[in-house]
Symmetry: C2
Subunit: 227 residues, 2 copies
């Protein structure tokens, strides 16, 4: 990227990470940890392969990622964030928080990946019953599934699945997102087609209080979307 040529730390930051796709690569590495080239490509639908290769090189040159040969059983090169790269998390989170307002109107051509539930879950879900037994929730949207582990007052997210989840939500990402962020109630998302199977009372434990819910977005806006 051409430098802005300004002696300002915001401009300097954008000199490094302001290129198209760059912060999304960092997002993937933050959400998924070390990634193969192919993992990144899958997590960044729409990127041209040459551009991904370019960006990884640039990030490496800037000291934000490193490539390392993984030992067997992986036996391939993994890209992972350096400390400087990981320190971009507040930037990516701030963008993710600000962008929630746009999640109510997805484009019909938008694609989805399971790891993208991570920030909504981190931002909004809480374990309000720390003494209750550990529990797991599986989110199934599109081809991917995401696991939320609730235990001892903490909530953790990861991609993948779990043998016997206590609760499974299956359906459109938009509905899962609206439920997690508190924009729609359990009754509303159910009416709109979200399938809830298992221990639904777990939702009372983790869903945000009304005052912590994200404002805005009437049901009418949400029902027209494809996702």
């Amino acid at each position: 990227m051409r430098s802005y040529g300004q002696y300002c730390s915001v401009a300097k930051a954008l000199d490094i990470v302001g290129d198209r796709w760059t912060l999304l690569i960092v997002r993937e590495l933050l959400l998924r940890g070390a990634c193969r080239y192919t993992d990144l490509k899958n997590g960044l639908p729409g990127i041209a392969t040459n551009l991904l290769a370019d960006r990884i090189r640039e990030l490496e040159a800037a000291g934000l990622v490193r490539r390392e040969e993984a030992p067997p059983p992986v036996a391939t090169t993994l890209v992972h964030l350096t400390e400087a790269g990981a320190e971009l998390e507040p930037v990516v989170k701030a963008l993710g928080w600000w962008g929630i307002r746009y999640m109510a109107q997805p484009a019909d051509t938008d694609v989805f990946r399971g790891q993208w539930f991570t920030y909504p879950v981190e931002f909004f879900l809480r374990d309000r019953d720390p003494d209750a037994p550990a529990a797991s929730v599986e989110l199934r949207a599109g081809a991917d599934s995401t696991v939320i582990e609730v235990s001892g007052g903490e909530v953790h997210v990861r991609v993948g699945s779990v043998p016997r989840p206590d609760l499974v939500l299956t359906g459109r990402p938009l509905l899962i997102n609206a439920l997690v962020t508190g924009q729609l109630s359990v009754a509303e998302v159910t009416a709109l087609g979200l399938e809830i199977s298992g221990d639904a009372s777990l939702l009372d434990r983790i869903l945000p209080d009304p005052e912590d819910a994200y404002p805005n977005s009437p049901e009418s806006e949400l029902s027209g979307a494809r996702l």
Copy 2:
């Protein structure tokens, strides 16, 4: 900007503000408040005029800024952030914080504007003596000057000057920045040519403790730069 087409709030945010120059326009409006077209152009050295006009239009269409006819004596149209636009402040601040690491190695062609001292000052300076009388510090670097008002435990920054400042720092932006962020001591910046006139004891009141200082950047790195 072409949409990333991803149902992820980070990607959605970058769909709106990920274009080149866009976040720097928001930075200027955050730092300076409502701006005329010319103010923005001056605060964004290097931007092409057509691009600035385009970006303002795009920001307006996205609902992040509004244009309003200012009453006399200004008598021109002012661009200011809407609430949604102002909510980008955490994003800009996170970038500004992350980018401080690059302030120790300015490019020889970098330009500077006084309002860009705002975030370093906000991040690092404190009023450690709230009961002391109000005081003002003027920073003079290049053509611009910036005022720091210290009073009642609070520190505020603005562009402009003040009739009789208690303390004036005059010299290279890099040295003022290094002093403010705690990367160099008063003795070091003085040796490197920063002029300090007035009540130097004010610095003890506002400069960060060593444990709050920004790490890194030996004096040797800083002395070679032009700015």
